[in-house]
Structure formats: C-alpha cells, structure tokens
Amino acid sequence: MAGRLLARGMIAGVLAACLAFLFARVFGEPQVDLSIAFETARDAAAGMAAEPEIVSRKMQASFGLFTAAALYGAAYGGIFAIVFALAYGRVGRVSPRALALLLAGAGFLTFVLIPDLKYPPNPPAVGQEGTIGLRTVTYFEMIVLSLCVMALSILVGRRLIQRFGQWNGMLCGVGLFVALTALVQSGLPNINEVPADFPAIVLWRFREAAIGMQVVLWGALGLIFGPLATAVLTPGGTGRHRVG
C-alpha cells in the first residue's frame, strides 16, 4: 500500500507541476527575460563579452522549465506521499482528501514559504557567482531547519492540545512554531546581493511569480493526491470515480 501511495504521490506531483509550469510560463518568464536583459545591458556597459548561450532561451523557458518543474513535482510528490502514509490513521479521524490538502498546506509552509522568508527566490542578475557555495548550503540548511521546527511544533503541539484543550493548545503550538522560526532565521547569515540599480518591480514580480508557482504546485498536489489516495485506501470509496 505504501508503494502504491508513493507512486501516486509522484504522479500527482508531476500533474501538479504541469499546472505550475503553465503559471510560471505566463507570470514568471517575462520577469526572467527582463532580468536577463538587465544582466546583458550591465555586462555590455562593463565591456564584458556576452555569455555564450549553451541552451537557447527558448529551450530554457519551455522544455527546460517544464523538466525542472516535473522533476521537482515528482520529488516533493514522493516526499509528500511518504508523510501522508505515515500520518494517515495516526493524526485523527480525517478523510484522505482532507488530510492530503492539510499536508499540502503544511508542505508549502515548511519547504517553501518559511525558507523563502529568509532566502527569497532571486531572478538572474541577482546573486554573485563567488557565493554560490555559501548560498546553496544556507538555503538547504534553512529547509532542513524549517522541517525540524515544523515537526517539533506538531509533536509538542499535540501534547499541548491534550493538556490545554483544542483551541488553547493549538494556539500554543502555533506560537511555538513562530518563535522557533524567528530564532532559526535570525541565526542564519543574511544574504543580500541585489544590485543597487536592479528594478524593484521586476524583483517583486519575479518573487510573486515564484511563490505563486509553488502555491499552484502544492495546492494541486494536495487536491490531486486526495482522490488518488482515497482510491487506494478505501476501494470503492468516495474518491474513486474522480480519479479518471
């Protein structure tokens, strides 16, 4: 059963990535193009030769973007399905569909929004080549710590709910989550490599598109996986006729 859930999670992830790709293509790509234009103009003004184009822009913005999104969707779809398989039957009387949507929200918060608050997505032309090692390490550290904070808050939150009741216990759990997140984020190094003359609106629109793409991805992942999981968990159940 776990294997079937894993496969369906990855399938749901790829399907969700198709929608996320469309969103990114419409809202993200124009900002990427503007950023590359900025980069090209800056390099030309500095007398630097244009970077050789190994993969054409057209390819990057279509098959490249789609491949990246699909692999990313498959990966997080798999992780999502494992967490779902672990949580189902252990967190309360929740239907598979509701649990899937709930976990998708938690996944978005943990893997995307909290890390992005500290290290937001950056368009081309933002970010210095020499710091890529530091930036990659701190970014993945932030994701791991975000996961730890979420797991700890849920485990402690469940105890708090038993002790102080549903509402008060949940508030304490959320408070703990916020406090730990602030603590972790203040402990990690600040990175700001936005060029002084980079257009603020392009940066803002790019980040909107990047986070919007993730909202689409995780939202669709939760909504698509729910009926798929229902069909696995309750043969003949309510989700089955929705699968096709």
Partner: protein, 73 residues
Amino acid sequence: MSYGFSSPVPASAAMPDAIPLRALLPWAVFGLILSMVLLYFVGAEQGATALLSGHAVHEFVHDGRHLLGFPCH
C-alpha cells in the same frame, strides 16, 4: 495546526487503520533517496557542486532553478 479539520467527520467514525511502520519503512527510504537525487539535479548540480562536467544541466533547468527558489549562478 492539523486538528481543526478533524471535526467535519462525525466523531463516531472509526479511526482509519494506519499503515504499519514496518511496511512503510522500505518505501520511505526508497522514496526519500529518489526524491533527494531528483532535487539535487534540479537544484544544485553544476551550481555549488558538480558530478557532471560542463554547464548543460545547469543551463537546461536554469529558469526552473530560479523560479523554484534555488540559489543560482
């Protein structure tokens, strides 16, 4: 966090059967390793580290890497 959502299901409904951890573990290990490999190639290969030489992987997933929020360049 997760508990507000349990109320729409009638309290009398039985707790669904959990998947035994022993059955889950091998799939969890397999799925996590697979996912990590995929994320590595989308997010970090030919960036901070490189298993393959050149820039083809980086350049191909370039836009996705930026828009998915990974550090790039």
